[in-house]
């Protein structure tokens, strides 16, 4: 049924060795042009496609990169990141496969089934998982939410997002700040790091501790939060939100509470989702240089796979404030 290299060999009148040499363009081996052409023609005529399983079994390595995502909704930023990484690695013959870790099955089952050459975690791996993969010869590129000692780790400096938000708000004259945290439990790790950045920057600038309030993605929840902030001894005048969705909720809540943004309350989000600019007023947000991050991530994988490659330099300065009318 299946067309194998033996078929191609028979069809073109050479040995399987030669077929393999030709099809893999084995460096160092010289094949007569005529032979080469015959093999190539036979292969395409027969519709030959090498068996990945056999190749993986033989070489002990596949050309698949397994990308493990967190189980919370991905969002356009991560979508774009994956897009870029996929494209970059494709140029090096690697195919990226994405798995949403739905908690349902252990990660181990998955990478054992796929036998990827590398696993890319966009969420931190459990130490045991990382160890098991490494022991199996799989290259592991993990992620950290912040500073991490491991050189082979993708670091998204979440704290600096919080810092940037505060820096921007303070430059606009605000001193009494609040942090609008997301309600979704699954985001807590990220939210905490961003909040840590907000706190650290407030402390550094000698501002009072920021008020921290969880805001649902509903107008009522946000309006209640806004009222709470205004009722404070020192009323909050500016809000750093976990992300754009939370920021949009705060915007809606402020309007519902009769406040004018940004005069009564300034709001800054994170991500620059498409609808951020459609809000009224348009939402100021923290934008991320996803291309640079993706480039770095792809280069990290390649470097980890091939020790002769120079490890890439972590991109600096990937976050920027996109100033709109909400601050």
């Amino acid at each position: 049924m299946r067309v194998t290299s033996a078929d191609v060999a028979r069809e073109s009148g050479v040995s399987r060795t030669t077929v393999s040499y030709v099809l893999n363009a084995k460096p160092g081996v010289v094949i007569t042009e005529a032979t080469r052409r015959r093999v190539l023609e036979a292969a395409s005529r027969l519709g030959y496609t090498p068996s990945a399983a056999a190749r993986a079994l033989r070489s002990g390595r596949s050309d698949l990169v397994l990308c493990v995502l967190p189980d919370w909704t991905v969002g356009p930023v991560l979508d774009t990141l994956i897009d870029h990484v996929t494209t970059s690695l494709a140029e090096h013959g690697l195919s990226v496969l994405v798995h949403i870790s739905r908690g349902s099955r252990p990660l181990a089952e998955l990478w054992r089934a796929v036998t990827p050459c590398a696993v890319l975690g966009l969420v931190p791996f459990a130490a045991a998982d990382a160890r098991a993969m490494t022991r199996s010869g799989i290259v592991v590129v993990g992620s950290a939410l912040d500073e991490d000692p491991h050189p082979e780790t993708f670091v998204v400096p979440q704290t600096s997002i919080g810092r940037l938000q505060v820096e921007h708000l303070v430059a606009r004259g605000h001193r009494a700040l609040a942090y609008a945290a997301p309600a979704d439990d699954r985001l807590v790790a990220f939210a905490d790091r961003r909040l840590a950045g907000v706190r650290a920057e407030c402390a550094r600038l000698g501002l009072p501790e920021p008020r921290v309030t969880t805001v649902d993605l509903t107008v009522e929840s946000a309006a209640a939060a806004v009222r709470g902030w205004r009722d404070d001894a020192v009323p909050v005048t500016a809000v750093a939100a976990y992300n754009d969705e939370v920021a949009l909720a705060v915007l809606a809540g402020a309007t519902a509470a009769g406040l004018v943004v940004p005069d009564d309350l300034a709001v800054i989000g994170v991500d620059d989702i498409p609808v951020a600019r459609l809000a009224s007023p348009p939402l100021t947000t923290v934008w991320q240089a996803i291309d640079a991050q993706a480039e770095y991530l792809a280069a990290s994988v390649l470097a980890a796979l091939d020790p002769s490659l120079e490890p890439p330099v972590r991109p600096d300065d990937v976050f920027h404030v996109l100033e709109r009318a909400s601050t």
Copy 2:
């Protein structure tokens, strides 16, 4: 280096055959409880994990399901759908791997590398691709944007979305309708089907042809569109938008143009993205029963894989209007 079934056999003092029988719980083969236990213990002591490559090579089939996504931004609806499908299929020992078809590499390279048992397309496959996969013994579950003769195809009745939107707007007393189309080229196939639904329903109800305008995700673009609609001989009073993002743009554009929603202009979207309810006024939208769709999709894959299984019945009535204040 790698622990193989031969190691387990040696360690437990049995043959590889027995190891295989025990580990795969081969039905019909009876193994002494003592032997069974010895093998199981040796396997776990050694940390044995079967080689997926060898298994795939041997059996000619893996337990991976490749899910191919379109190259446009996925969005929360598709995210959720994949989540559900992943969970469902995991219960049957299948792992779902997602690939964003970035256009960069031909699909063929990918499924050849992965050798999945099934490929699930959330976007229609090219006929040649589908044929090649089927010929290679891979089960193909494709998608169609609308009615499709193939029984093994996932159908999302895009036209009925448009119909529902019109039906809702007409029930609210509107007769002069517009369709707000997305600017992104990659969405054109979907947008066209939804528009076809809008047109068909207008025709059925004896309404004038809907005005069709492309709307960027910017306030300016939307405001211009809104003004155009108002300047018509018979001014448009209600808009069916391609999705919630476009609808939010129209909302912003209407406000910018000095109109009051829904009194001057009613707007209905599609998807119920989280921020839809945060808009002012909150956005009426078409909601989809993703759970039912995901269940159907997972069952389709299983049925295609195992002919003895009853093919699932296509869920009916998956779309519903979620009425909020924008209509």
